[in-house]
Every structure is written in structure tokens, then in C-alpha cells.
Amino acid sequence: MLGRDISETLQQQVHNAVVNGTPLKIEGGNSKVFLGRETHGEILDVSAHCGIVEHDPRELVLTARSGTPLKEIEAALAEAGQMLAFEPPHFGDNATLGGTIACGLSGPRRPFCGSARDFVLGCKLLNGKGEILRFGGQVIKNVAGYDVSRLMVGAYGTLGVLLEISLKVLPRPAASHTLIQECTQAEAISKMSRLLSQPVPVDAACYHAGYCYVRLSGSEQAVKHAHEHLGGEVIEKSEPFWHALREHHLPFLGSANPLYRVMVKPAVPPLEIVGEWLLDWGGAQRWLVSDEPIAVIRERVATVGGHVTQFRGSEHKGEIFQPLAAPLLVIHQRLKASFDPHGIFNRGRIYANL
């Protein structure tokens, strides 16, 4: 398989950074630079560290270097009738596997099939001492040592440079139908919540612009029966809709206005915050475009036990991610120091003092 292993070069750059006390800014395809806080430093370019290392469809496992383009991985999987079941958003043509895992983002299928971190089986990591370490592996069950590979998911590169990642992959469903029904947001929430306690093969559910969309996937028969059971109109060629939802190509998601990601329990009734809402993940992940100050949004969301990220339209400083409770922040800082004792990787990308 094509590709290139530049781990020694990357390792050398980390060694130099340690010696010179230079902070490093890890870069892959640069597709998710809009997300999170600004970080400064010499660029550590991982994009040339690429290539699928191993993919044996029978094992349901794929291992690739972190700079491998996500689309290359998806193409290889599609050829084998497989997929990344967490349906990762790309947010750009150059998205790499490393960036996808470091940001821990998942698409519409997430509440029904699992998140990016759920599918990570192992990784090869370059830590802040310039050591190359391996954690986890290529097997589904592995409880030797702490689950460091999954800790890397959503750490935004603050703990180390992902060099290689092994993922569990799944067969693509044989059939997929999308049902659509006009309703209010409140009706959509209770409809989607009821799906959680019915034996139907749902793998995506969202509410957008007055319509509830439910995607059924599985064997031909299963999808057909579930459709009869649930009712609703089928939309032909629904793939572009789910793609647009995942990639934030639907009208207001891609706008320049501040976009907030509001995480709540799926059955929480509509939140009274002025703005435009789109509900994904069966109601568990809600997108909000609003002019309200973030502090006000956070306060309201906290009353229902949720949390808020300013996803787009931020100035890349301040509290973009929900602040942590003080004792948890202490643990985060100690963990950061344990992987990156000189504090060289992606300083301040998630929190100012991390």
C-alpha cells in the first residue's frame, strides 16, 4: 500500500522542540482549524505521514498512519463493503484520520452505533518526551494497561502526536431508507426519544426546518418492515441530505454566525433560547445559531444538565469548550504533564491553562 513513514523526522522535531523549548502546533489537513482555541508554535506537519498500514476486512480492523486522508480510508473501506460506522464529518477535503480522531468528532450515526472513541482500538503515539509508544492494539477486546488510545480521542493533540491508529470498522448496511415527517420540535423530540425504546433498525434521527428525518438501515427486509411499522414518507436519494447535515452544509449551520453545539439528554424538551435550532443525534446533539451571549446559553443549558461548545464563529480564545470543575481541571493538568512534561503540544487548544 502507498504511503510514507516519517515518524523519525517527527520524533526529531519533537526532540528539537524539547531542547529549544519551542511549542509545537500539530497540523494535518488543516480542516478543523476553525474549531477550538488558537494555539501558537512551530508547525509539526503530520500530513506526509500517511498510508493505510493494514486492512483485513475479515478482522473488521483498519490501521492507518495519522496523515492518511479520510477520503482515502473511506474509499478503501467502501471497496470492501465496509465503513467507519461513526460517520465522521470531514469539514474539508483534506481531513486526515489523525485530525478526525484528535478532535473526536462523529456524525449522525453516533447515538445508535457509537462514537469515534468507541471504534478506536489502538494507537502509536509520539509523546512530549519524543518517545514512540504503542497502546491498545488491533483486537476488539484488550484490557491490558490503561486505555490510553481512547484518551487521545478528543484531546486535540494536547497529549501527543498520533502516529498510527487502529479502528474497528463495520460492514455497510445492505439497505437504507429515510423517512420524513412534518412536525414541531417538541413532537420530533418525543418521536425520536420513543425510537430509543423500540426494536427498529434506526441509525440516524434529526429535526431540521419543521421536519423529522429518521434513517433506517439494515437488511432489506428489516428496513421494509420497520418502515411499515413507523410510517412516514420515504425520501428518495437521501444520502445528500445526511452528508450535508454531517458536513454542516445545511443552510444555517455553515453560516458565519456563532454556532453552538448544545449537548443534552435526548428527551429534554425544546430549550427556550432564542435562535435557530437543528437537532441531530436523536435530540442529543443540538445545533444553535444565536446572538445570545455564551454565558447565558451555558446557564440555561446547565439547568438541564447539558454542556455547550462554541463550534463556529468564535474568536478562538476564551472559554470555547465548557469549563471544567476545578478538581477535574487539576487531573487534566496532571495528565497533560504526564504525557507532555515540557508543555510543547498544542498549548491552550482546549483550555487556556492546559
Binding site: L133, V139, K141, Y146, L151, V153, R172, A226, L328, R334
Partner: protein, 496 residues
């Protein structure tokens, strides 16, 4: 206070002081010090390791747990937390200078939320009790370790327990949302959230399978799933164990993810059949049990496909359970494999390695060669779908040197698992049992990183010390021993 060289209180005065202070925090019946009362806590499910703790405490509130932890931290006394004690790797083995913290009184189901498909539990709730309580809503908790009737959710999180349905439904880590934990310093932390993810690092993943080394779990919120409309099981017999291994890969290659895919070899089939009378074919060299679940329509479709694959793969016989009673019977044979093997041999040693599925034929062949070499029979029981092997080495501990040979044999199996790209433990954990094998699977900088992760939660190193992650010193000694036997040169392992 006099302190021994490893920093632990070593004299009677210090012990008495600790016990007096614990009595000040807890009701009298919640502090046990009599030898007789301590006895039930001397070991977990791996009873070859036994040790009496200094004292057992049985708190019933989170505030009490915090107070105990603060006291032990201040007095520099180590603490080992314990759930139901069904663990199979000695992870809950007490320390003779330490406190054994039992969570047995934390057994309330706090809340079942069918609308959001989640349940909040105290750590001492039994695994099966969760599904029982959720059944009223058509929901259940997916991970089902074979000890599910007795094991508790706190221990399941600590061990990241699996079960026969992992391939499709994941391990404990995939099925939990939020934890409340108490650190060694007595701090109460909320890890994860009731939402599908939480801000900051994924500490939930770190806690799952941390073997009681990072914090004490005092509350668990789990995800509940809808009970599938239908579950159906197929039994296939093979005249060759390797053909059975190939068939496992063929089912998965066909795009079908069975809910469970189990394999047993001849020794295990016979033992199980004598014990459970499940109707397994005695003339088979191996059987596969393949459970398919989902909607009615999907299960019917998949059964047809899997039957075809099994026949094509050379199965001599394929049976579909005719009804729920027969399905239960097929499973009964598999689930009673361990006790069944226990009846045919004075002792057995259960291994828990994982391998990439494609290595199954190779690893089986090697195990059978070693079985002859050591003169020790092996019964093979596998979670074949996810490559998790449970070879049971049959031996007699009363025979001179047989235990030592068994351990050596077992060690070679685990080493082989690592060599072919697998792991020394799929679901039982490292605990005390596989601490030496950690030196095979991980290099020194990786072990150092693990110790540093522990220190981030427990800087004083007082929570379950000495388990799960070996010291470099220990690995050096283990390595030296192996060089002596001439069987594990492993030049890449750094020496100290």
C-alpha cells in the same frame, strides 16, 4: 509515626490508631478486624492468591467513602476497593497493611430513565439486576460477563468487563455514560456526563478497566438498549477445529455481525455435554454457536445466510434452535463450560488472551503441540467472534511441579498472543495474575507512561498499589528469569 521503607505504617500502634479513627467515621458493624470476619475478603475469584487485609470497611454513603479516603491518605495507608469479588485476576487481593474498602452496601438502583434509555446505579448493583429492572421498559444493559448473576457494575467498570455479546454490543466502556468517583485524596469527581460526551479528556475511557488503581467508583450511569425483537442461535459441528476457525472469519466477511459467536473444541464439548446435556454432538472436533439478533425479518434473513456459509465451510451438521427453550439449552452448555471442565480435572487454569481472528488456526495448532509437549490436556473455549481465547489447561496441583509447568505453558500461550498481534488479557484484567506478562506486552517507556497516568489521579500511590502495571524493577527480574530459561530473549525489552 514509624513508617516502613515502602512508606507504609508498620507498627501495631499505627494500626490501632487507624482502626480507632475508622471507628470514629463508621458505625461499629462497618469496621471488621476479627480474622474470621476478614476471611471472606482474603481473595477474589482467583483464589490462588490469598491475603488477609488489616481491616475491612463497609461504608454506605459517598461521604463515608470520602472520609475513609481522606483518613487513609493522611495516614499514608493503602486502600483496595472491592465489589462482589468475582474478578479472575486477583485485582481485589487485599494488602496486609491496608484497608479493604467493600462497596457491598452500595446496592441501590437510583434511577431508571426510559425516555433517555439510561440507568443510574450504585456500584454494588449486580449486573443482571440492571437488566431485570430495565425489562419493564423493554430495555436491558448489554455487557453480560458470565458471572453476571453475582458480579457488580462497579467491578464491571473497573475491569471493563465483556461477555458473549461484545462483538456486537461492545464492552463496559461502550455502555457507560457517567461515573462518580472518589480519589485517594477524598475528592468527589464526576467523570463523563448524562450527555453522549463530556468536555475535556475522555477520562471515562481511562476509568474503564483501570482495575481500581485510579479512583473508587461510587455511582455509575449506564446506557440501556432496546431488547431485540428476536434472538436465534445456530449450532454448527465441524470435524476439524481449523475449519470451524475459518468459518468464523467467513461469517464476518459476509457482512454479518452476530450477537455472539462462540467456539468449543472436543474436550470442552464432552465436558459440557456430560454436565449440561445440551445435546452437543459428541463426535464433533469443534462446534460453533452463532447467535443472531435484531428484528424478526433481519434475523430470518441472516439465519439463511449463515447456514449457507457454515455448510460451505464444511460443517457436518447445522442446527437452528427450534424454540427459546432450545436456544437457552444451547447456551447452557457453553455457559457451564468452566464448571464442567472443573469436574473432569482436579484443577484448571483459565487463560484470557486475545488474537486477531485470522491467527486462530495457527494459535490453536501451537496450543495443541504444547499440550502434548507438557503432557497437560487443554479444553478450548473461545469468544471466537472477537478473538478472545479461554484455553483451560487441565492439571493437578497435588502432583509435584504440575502447577509450575501449567504456569509456564500458560505463559507461552500469552506470549504467543502478543507475538501474533493480540493481548495478554481480553476481559479478565491484569491484577496480580498477569503482572509479569505486562512486561512482554509493553516496553519500559509505555509502562512509565502508565505509572504517570496513575500518578495523575493518585500521586501518593496508595490506591491498589502493586497491581495491573509492573514496576520496571519487576520486569527486569522477570526478564532475567526468562533469559535463564532460555525461552524469552526479547531483546527489545529494555533492562535495568
Amino acid at each position: 509515626m514509624p513508617v516502613s521503607k515502602d512508606g507504609l505504617p508498620c507498627n501495631r500502634d499505627a494500626h490501632e490508631d487507624l482502626i480507632r479513627k475508622l471507628r470514629g467515621l463508621l458505625p461499629p458493624e462497618a469496621v471488621l478486624t476479627d480474622k474470621e470476619d476478614l476471611r471472606p475478603f482474603e481473595c477474589d475469584g482467583l483464589s490462588v492468591y490469598r491475603r488477609l487485609p488489616l481491616v475491612v470497611v463497609l461504608p454506605e454513603t459517598t461521604a463515608q467513602v470520602q472520609a475513609i479516603m481522606r483518613l487513609c491518605h493522611a495516614l499514608h495507608v493503602p486502600v483496595v476497593a472491592r465489589g462482589a469479588g468475582t474478578g479472575l485476576s486477583g485485582g481485589a487481593l487485599p494488602l496486609s497493611d491496608g484497608v479493604l474498602l467493600s462497596l457491598a452496601k452500595f446496592k441501590r438502583i437510583l434511577h431508571i430513565d426510559p425516555e433517555n434509555a439510561m440507568a443510574t446505579l450504585q456500584p454494588g448493583v449486580r449486573n443482571l439486576a440492571i437488566s431485570d429492572a430495565a425489562a419493564a421498559y423493554g430495555l436491558y444493559y448489554a455487557p453480560d460477563p458470565s458471572s453476571q448473576i453475582a458480579c457488580t457494575i462497579g467491578g464491571n467498570v473497573a475491569e471493563n468487563s465483556g461477555g458473549v455479546h461484545c462483538l456486537k454490543y461492545g464492552l463496559t466502556v461502550h455502555n457507560i455514560l457517567m461515573l462518580k468517583v472518589v480519589t485517594m485524596e477524598g475528592e468527589l469527581l464526576t467523570i463523563g456526563a448524562e450527555t453522549l460526551d463530556s468536555p475535556g479528556y475522555d477520562l471515562l475511557a481511562l476509568m474503564a478497566g483501570s482495575e481500581g488503581m485510579l479512583a473508587v467508583i461510587v455511582e455509575v450511569t449506564v446506557k440501556l438498549l432496546v431488547k431485540p425483537e428476536r434472538a436465534q442461535v445456530l449450532l454448527a459441528a465441524f470435524d476439524d477445529v481449523y475449519k470451524a476457525g475459518e468459518a468464523v472469519g467467513a461469517i464476518i466477511a459476509a457482512g454479518i455481525i452476530p450477537a455472539g459467536l462462540e467456539m468449543m473444541d472436543k474436550v470442552a464439548i464432552h465436558a459440557s455435554e456430560d454436565y449440561a446435556h445440551a445435546g452437543y454432538p459428541r463426535d464433533a472436533e469443534a462446534i460453533l454457536l452463532c447467535e443472531l439478533d435484531g428484528t424478526n425479518a433481519e434475523v430470518s434473513e441472516h439465519i439463511m445466510k449463515v447456514r449457507e456459509i457454515l455448510h460451505q465451510g464444511g460443517a457436518t451438521e447445522v442446527r437452528t434452535a427450534a424454540n427459546e427453550a432450545e436456544r437457552q439449552l444451547f447456551w447452557k452448555g457453553r455457559k457451564s463450560a468452566f464448571p464442567a471442565v472443573g469436574r473432569i480435572s482436579p484443577d484448571y487454569y483459565c487463560m484470557d488472551g486475545t488474537i486477531p481472528r485470522r491467527q486462530l488456526p495457527h494459535v490453536l495448532r501451537q496450543i495443541s503441540l504444547w499440550s502434548e509437549e507438557y503432557g497437560l490436556p487443554v479444553a478450548n473455549v473461545f469468544h471466537a467472534g472477537d478473538g478472545n481465547l479461554h484455553p483451560l489447561i487441565l492439571f493437578d496441583a497435588n502432583k509435584d511441579g504440575e502447577l509450575a509447568r501449567t504456569e509456564e505453558f500458560g505463559q507461552r500461550i500469552l506470549q504467543l498472543c502478543v507475538e501474533v498481534g493480540g493481548s495478554i488479557t481480553g476481559e479478565h484484567g491484569v491484577g496480580m495474575e498477569k503482572i509479569n506478562q505486562m512486561c512482554i506486552q509493553f516496553k519500559a517507556p509505555e509502562l512509565i507512561q502508565f505509572h504517570a497516568v496513575k500518578a495523575a489521579f493518585d500521586p501518593a500511590g496508595l490506591l491498589n498499589p502493586g497491581k495491573a502495571v509492573p514496576t520496571l524493577q519487576r520486569c527486569a527480574e522477570f526478564g532475567a528469569m526468562h533469559v535463564h530459561h532460555g525461552q524469552l530473549p526479547h531483546a527489545e525489552l529494555e533492562r535495568f
